[in-house]
Amino acid sequence: MDSLVQLVALSEFFPRGILPYLLGGLLVGGGVAFIYLATGIIAGASTFLESTLSYVSDVPRFNRFKYIQSRGWRLVFTAGIVSGAALYGLVLGPGTWTTEVQWWRLLGGGFLVGVGTRLGKGCTSGHGVCGTGSLSRTSLVNVVTFLAVAIGTAQFVQALGVTP
């Protein structure tokens, strides 16, 4: 009976189960750990935005040594992420999938993500996974901040009747 109650509680908070989430998380961490153990590099996803801009822009911020020096492998890292997700589609075969989120939310939200992750020195992978894994106070503060604001924003959007 107790286990039944627990099961109901679990399915209410985790309607898709927890296995894909946990497995996915371990693999995300595993990808970072693999690169780290071989190279000592802690790879985040958002620096790619600025380092790639150095190919096409003269703005001095994008052409700093650490971006010029890393822009090549960051392109390869991103290509790996795209391929890995595509591999999931091919191997586990859920087929292609497209979002119902409106283009203006993607564009506008994306713009804020671009500004915020670079100003705040990292994103969900840099601060959220690698920074918290390093027990960095800076990262913990950043993660709590973006989580709280994102929850408030998403619930506000929902309250306005915008779906999904």
Binding site: Y21, V32, A33, I42, G84, A85, V113, T153
Partner: protein
Amino acid sequence: MNTEERGPWFLSVIYVGGLIFGFGLAISGMARPEVVLDFLQFEDFGLLFVMGGAALVTGITFAVATRSLKRAPLTGDAYRRRLKGFDRNVIIGGTIFGGGWGVSGICPGAAYASVGIGNYPILWAIAGMFLGAYAQGYWRTARTSTSADAAATDN
């Protein structure tokens, strides 16, 4: 060292690491903005296991490597943790990022993975991220050179 000077294995390792990372993001559902929005709207708390599981793996790896391993084989670099200095930009940036994440349900790594699952509308989000990254770089460069000019005039 340039990317090219690091030897043939370097880029292969980066690519395979990215592959595992992207596969994980896709299997976890994070490549779908709807799943992230479900978390932010308290309908599915699975995202906690993604971030928690990933942070657990990196946490153990960083702890073991910084204590017990000498230098990374492919680069000769020492193992370090990811520690960044704190300033108010960490809060301001986190707030702006949180607003964007809440509006769209998308963050950089998940957006790249979303391309891989054939979600072509995500290109709007990636275009937005590049525009945003460009805008902050442009503003910050302009501000720095203005304050440098002001400092020069002060002298």
